[in-house]
Symmetry: C3
Subunit: 335 residues, 3 copies
């Protein structure tokens, strides 16, 4: 495996193998499998979980890592082709990425959406430019509309929780004071569909996921026997749910229109997940979120502090699945 | 040992054991005792010595570490309970700390005082919230009113310098252009008292340490046969001193009142330690400071560049005692 | 070797030995030669290549490293002697460097020019203060007017490319929207002269390198049989060139005069390297640059994307030569 950019690009066998390796690494985390190997982590945007889990994961496998933060402590990276670089960015990924590849056996890159033009962000121009420039294995640490590490970790969490392959998965939009990227909802809805689940996207008017995102998920569902639909009817969506996965995202209907989006979002503070939401769900329904999460804004304390919450387990699985990806990429042996 | 938050919570045997291990690690610094183990370092405030010494220490013991800086490169952490998180902080320690504990065998956290309300800071609300949230061993990397790593390193330095257990220890306030936290003076006065020393806090009017801090130190002295008192009479304080430990701190009498504190402090530029101060002290009296120190403001070049200064040795001992704490916490064997 | 501050301070044998070790490390990069050894990296200015290559290099040799960024995440370092430290800087290198040396077996420091007074910068006051303060081996990670890691890497690249020892080396000034330091041009012109090359500095009026820089290069040439001269005639300079090394630097003639320098530079946008420049050069002439480089400002896409470019190879050699320096300094065995 030379690229880990999107789990939809992996076949069923590859996904199953990664999940199996991840489980083995969770049981037996420390080895020398990647002794002398170096991972280069490039964060164009902030990170807590991703940075910590990749650095810890490489260390537990006997390797090491370094962190570059273009634009913070160092200059920003340009990604567009043919541009006259007389602005803020002092280095192009066409140099920056091959150079870092001289120092690292694999690279990971985080590059959020610009958030201005939906079609542009859906095209993943930054990740594509970086992937084209990288001569070494590359991991997507969250791009404009994807987050495969999160998706694979969540898949493992669903397995760990014993949620049936064809269980009911609700991805619910939630209120947040800032407009957030589409990466996690897009990756998670496709993951759940690919896992064979009965997927419902619960969201207010104006927050329907982009057509391309829903089509990708529908295609994933067609391979696995799952299904995908959208609704704004909470009671209907929650009926019989195994999982409620909350996440905020900016309105695709007014994408990049900052004031219009803020007005639309301001009226939706009631979209805050609480125990009351779970009335129509299964009694053992669980709550998921990729973190960070704003307490009592996105979801109530009672959920995060109660038995439904799987959020720490999800984050823990980031470590295990990412180590599996690194082992697969760098040719190391599982412990 | 599952927590290293305050050396006053350790019994004499535990302190003696840590100091003994630290000395052994100073003689023989490199091992594989913590192979595969990971330390997560969370800096809510800047650091030089603490970051470098913990990263170096884990590496010398065969382990590794990662660094998270909430609010700088990533979002800030909320610590209050029950709060509606619609402000600047995007993650609560109730998630952030357990998540980092999924990636690390132990955590260290730096969380300075807010500096607004003395009673609040004395209650250590941030450290307490983090300690309550951490399922793994936790090290205090400097909190609102404590700095146990510094205190233990300074204890070792006093031992290394051959200062008698019942020697005279003077903690002197010094002028500084900014209002500084109480963490080091509070930790050091208690440490010296606990070691059995004759402790004098030399400070101008308005800079008396808070009652709670002096009571903690007095209690420590009562266990060890030491003593603690305060004065603003320099000649009397310095009489027969073995050690002069300089440190600036904001005025507890006008804590959080920025302008009043600045006015009070502005008139005290004469509180700058120089050779002349040492007249009444023992001829072999030594100078200590936790660093960073402003030359010719807090203390004159002649002291730092002369034979009295023990400041680099103090900083060096940070490494050795912290490695002892890590070994004790993570169950490794001493070399 | 206890200092790596300037390759002109090394004798021919030392340079040859480092290049030989670097080549061996390129073939066989991973070892345990520096097990348990720690490198402390102090970046007073931003870095991508240097940070990544030193961290990767120490890891590949079985050691580790930590990074301190004074002034960003921590306080700035004062370097002047005798100063009253009541300004922005909270720590003096007289403490900061010996303290970091307590935690590290060697230190590397990056300290750019202040860019105000040429004579001051040519005197390397910051690097000198740090070197005087360091009790452990010290590497110059780029100082006011030197960059020995870059120079040694470029020497290796010239060897790797098969460029004759007495080949023609053109260092050409190029336009850049910001005034840049003299470190790389100064180091590179001396390196090429020391290697025995026929060196031409091609630059517009006002951009002649400082006398001290040219004298150092001339002295280096006198040892090796090389030569050094300056011109503003591009056709003449390029005639028969083996190498065109592009780099922008601020005008020494109006050093530190921000507006005058900007006016002078603004008229020189034509100094952008393109294929057309290579007309009079050898057909197999190669293009070098230390990176980061602004595409279509300093140099055209056609060069960087074509067969002439050696820029990634140069950056890759940073890793190999720096590992050789570390091995030499820390007494490790080559693999």
């Amino acid at each position: 495996m030379n690229r880990f950019l999107d789990i939809e690009l992996l076949d069923d066998q590859a996904i199953a193998s990664l999940l199996e390796t991840a489980a083995a690494l969770q049981r037996d985390p420390v080895s020398d499998a990647l002794r002398g190997r170096v991972l280069g982590l490039v964060f164009m945007n902030p990170s807590v979980r991703t940075l910590a889990s990749f650095q810890a994961g490489m260390a537990q496998l006997g390797g090491s890592s370094f962190v570059i933060t273009p634009g913070q402590g160092s200059w920003g990276f340009e990604t567009r082709g043919g541009v006259v670089m007389d602005g803020a960015h002092a280095e192009h990924v066409k140099e920056g990425i091959p150079v870092l590849a001289e120092y690292a056996d694999a690279l990971g890159v985080r590059c959020f959406a610009e958030g201005k033009d939906l079609a542009t962000d859906l095209g993943e121009p930054v990740l594509s430019a970086i992937a084209a420039a990288s001569p070494v294995p590359l991991v997507n640490l969250e791009s404009a509309v994807n987050h495969p590490c999160q998706a694979l970790a969540d898949w493992k969490t669903l397995d760990d929780l014993g949620v049936p392959r064809d269980g009911k998965f609700v991805l619910s939009w939630a209120y947040h004071p800032r407009p957030l990227p589409l990466a996690v909802p897009a990756a998670v809805v496709a993951m759940a569909a690919r896992r064979g689940m009965d997927v419902t996207v619960l969201r207010p008017e104006g927050y329907g996921l982009p057509g391309q995102v829903m089509e990708t998920a529908a295609q994933a569902a067609s391979f696995s026997g799952g299904s995908v639909r959208e609704t704004d009817d909470r009671a209907e969506a929650m009926e019989g749910a195994h999982i409620v996965y909350a996440k905020s995202w900016q309105a695709p209907s007014v994408y990049g229109e900052v004031e219009a989006e803020a007005r639309l979002r301001d009226g939706l503070r009631g979209w805050s997940v609480s125990e009351e939401w779970f009335g129509p769900a299964r009694t053992d329904a669980r709550f998921m979120h990729c973190l960070p999460v704003r307490r009592n804004v996105v979801v109530a304390d009672e959920i995060l502090d109660g038995a439904r919450s799987a959020v720490v387990q999800q984050a823990g699985n980031r470590l295990h699945v990412q180590k599996a990806v690194l082992l697969e990429m760098l040719g190391g042996r599982a412990t």
